[in-house]
């Protein structure tokens, strides 16, 4: 049953009025910043003196079986974090998946061999058709993941959403830079940590994060600065103790991601004088063992406009797939997809540094 139609304009108007969600910055797009253009980001990365190129180091990178159908519903978000690789924000109604594309995506999900549908954004929960997408993927027997910024769950229009997601066994993959306030607020805005804690308590109350595989709560941490993430296993132990002791919060697993040198994090690297050193750090930490489990191998990434990519990062850089029928979801053919060449550039060093970094966490 289709819920009452939600209009994007109403969601955007709510966000414009929202004074409760802290915001760390404004989108590059809204500021008219030069790095809003993907070509400018790629040119900046290409201008750096690096001692190696990604393609030469990761020669064994080849497609694997399709497992994850990732859909980016668009760039609208209630927050504007400093490190956002999407350049998302409350102003980004310009980049939202339209109805026709949503319908096309749902048809492809039903026909897909992927076992998991990974829904991302922006804050995907703000897309007017978010519940349609979840319901269709659930009905098609897919495991559904919601990449959630936590604070979005506290917006009045999302009252009851946690329980609704729980009924459909949706895994909540929640971003939280750190289990203590300072580094979380530095990256996401003053007061975000407190609201994230409230949202996590709501999730726990709905049965999430308590070892039930049907109500899995995954936390995603990323470094608050120009350095790599710590060892996932060690960090998970520390977070478990810290969140339990200080806030009585439990979760099922923790993923540690590196920050990709693109979009707003790229701008921050440049403005803070960290750009060259960070890229050097990524190249020096290149780990061949991290290549095997990179998400680009088993993930199809669909952009808000229906175009296809190897990952959400390539999507933000306009590095679309080269498929015989063209890079659009309407022409998707899994066999052709299987034989594609994975598109890489210098930002890919972010995914192979140290213990590796993928939408599924560390890879080595």
């Amino acid at each position: 049953m289709r819920e009452a139609t939600i209009r994007l304009e109403d969601v955007a108007a709510d966000l414009a009025q929202d004074r409760a969600t802290p915001r760390a910055t404004k989108s590059l797009n809204r500021r008219g910043a030069p790095l809003a253009a993907p070509a400018a980001q790629l040119a900046l990365l290409d201008s750096l003196p690096l001692r190696a190129e990604f393609a030469a180091l990761a020669q064994g990178l080849a497609p694997a079986k399709l497992e994850i159908f990732q859909v980016n519903l668009g760039k609208l978000c209630n927050m504007t974090c400093k490190h956002c690789h999407v350049d998302a924000g409350p102003d980004r109604t310009d980049a939202m998946m339209d109805d026709a594309t949503v319908d096309l995506v749902l048809a492809k999900i039903r026909a897909s061999s992927a076992h998991t549908v990974d829904i991302t954004g922006g804050a995907p929960e703000l897309h007017p058709r978010f519940r349609d997408v979840v319901q269709a993927a659930f009905d098609a027997g897919k495991q559904v993941m919601d990449r959630c910024n936590l604070t979005v769950l506290l917006l009045p229009r999302n009252a009851g959403l946690v329980e609704w997601l729980a009924e459909r066994n949706v895994e909540i993959v929640a971003s939280l830079p750190h289990y203590r306030r300072p580094n979380t607020d530095a990256q996401r805005g003053d007061g975000v940590f407190e609201r994230s804690v409230r949202a996590l308590r709501n999730l726990n109350a709905a049965g999430y994060g308590k070892g039930d595989p049907k109500k899995r709560l995954t936390l995603v941490s990323n470094p608050a600065g120009a350095f790599l993430g710590a060892s996932q296993a060690v960090v998970e132990r520390e977070w478990r103790e810290g969140l339990q002791k200080n806030f009585s919060i439990s979760f099922d697993r923790l993923l540690v991601l590196n920050n990709m040198p693109i979009s707003r994090f790229l701008e921050w690297l440049q403005d803070s004088g960290n750009l060259e050193a960070y890229l050097e750090r990524l190249v020096n930490a290149f780990n061949p063992a991290a290549v095997d489990d990179l998400m680009c191998r088993n993930t199809l990434s669909v952009g808000w406009d229906g175009r296809l990519y190897d990952c959400d990062f390539n999507q933000m850089l306009d590095l679309e797939l080269s498929l015989p029928a063209g890079p659009h979801v309407r022409d998707l053919d899994e066999e052709a997809w299987q034989n594609r060449r994975i598109v890489t550039a210098r930002h890919c060093f972010g995914c192979t540094a140290g213990a590796g970094s993928s939408c599924g966490g560390q890879t080595a």
Partner: protein, 110 residues
């Protein structure tokens, strides 16, 4: 040599082995083993290193272990508390020597 301290020294530290490879290898192997996960976590060891770096006032070590602690998820408040541990021990160490001063003073004074 224009400056006693250069940040490049840190990146080039490995070259110290050039003139004495065997001792260099022993030192760096030992160093690596010290900082591995053990009865103490690597994170705890990095915080100790950060505090000691301040006690011995080594700019190279402060640079290296600030970044290392950050990479291990230590935030500024936690790092600052570690530095205060070094400060307290340094200060306390001076002050507790005051007990020697008192003994000398008591012996020589009337």
């Amino acid at each position: 040599m224009e400056n006693y301290f250069k940040s490049q020294h840190l990146a080039d530290f490995g070259k110290i082995s050039d003139a004495s490879p065997e001792l260099g290898k022993k030192f760096f192997d030992y160093y690596g083993a010290v900082f591995a996960e053990g009865a103490l976590t690597a994170r705890e060891k990095s915080l100790i290193a950060l505090a000691v770096a301040h006690a011995v006032q080594c700019p190279y070590c402060i640079d290296a272990y600030t970044l290392d602690c950050q990479s291990k998820g230590v935030d500024l408040e936690q790092m600052t508390e570690a530095v205060h541990v070094a400060v307290a021990i340094r200060g306390g160490s001076s002050l507790v020597h005051g007990m020697q001063m008192r003994e000398h003073a008591q012996k020589a004074g009337m």
